[in-house]
Amino acid sequence: MSDKQLADIVCRSLLAIVAGLRRKYELPDYQNITIEIRESDSIASAVPLAEKEQIG
């Protein structure tokens, strides 16, 4: 069995465990919505200005 095949089996197993736990405890699906704070050393950025606040 290759590493990739093993990794695939592990991932599928984990997903099945997660699905089972969610059903059992009626947990919602997880979907991140976040604010990130980070340092920038560039003037230009690919992130649209409307989505980015700059300070300093």
């Binding site: 979907q31 991140n32 919505i33 604010i35 980070r38 920038s40 980015k52 606040e53």
Partner: protein
């Protein structure tokens, strides 16, 4: 797409501080934790429920943001609240938010993929997570000014031989 706050102007200080990696890590962690705390304390309260609503509020969304129906900090930390190094050799970055599945429908942005943006029935009534950013900007700016001063003072003390 996450909301992003970028702080800038620390490049030279950070570059010099790389000679003192433990100190750099320490001040970065202090600044970032303080910044995340500002975001956390600025979580707004739940809006007034519609008059004809029969939905019983559970406060789940608020709890997932470390808050409550009355806003601000309440109870445990937000479900997404982390400080980590920004890439290999990078400084520090922080993430604040919620991983609750339906959160984007309630407090998501106006634009985005379906399932990632605020639903029509919540528009105009519920705030959006991005609204926390302008409320927090000034205080976060002060924090990073303070961090810059700490780094400058530290570097000055090292260069002058003062312990």
């Amino acid at each position: 797409m996450p909301n992003i706050i970028e702080y800038r102007g620390l490049d030279e200080l950070i570059a010099q501080m790389r000679a003192f990696p433990q100190k750099l890590k320490q001040v970065g962690k202090i600044g970032m934790e303080a910044s995340l705390n500002v975001l956390w304390e600025n979580v707004p309260p739940y809006p007034t429920a519609p008059e004809d609503s029969t939905y019983r509020r559970t406060g789940t969304l608020g709890r997932s943001l470390g808050s409550s129906t009355t806003g601000g900090q309440a109870g445990g930390k937000p479900s997404i609240y982390e400080v980590k190094q920004q890439g290999v050799g990078g400084f520090v970055e922080g993430r604040f938010g919620t991983n609750l599945g339906y959160a984007p429908y309630v407090i998501g942005p106006d634009e985005g993929e379906k399932g990632e943006r605020q639903a029509w029935m919540h528009k105009g009534r519920w705030w959006k997570l991005e609204d926390v950013v302008p409320k927090s900007k000034e205080k976060i700016n002060l924090i990073w000014n303070g961090i810059a001063q700490k780094m400058a003072d530290f570097l000055n003390s090292k260069s002058s031989g003062v312990k």
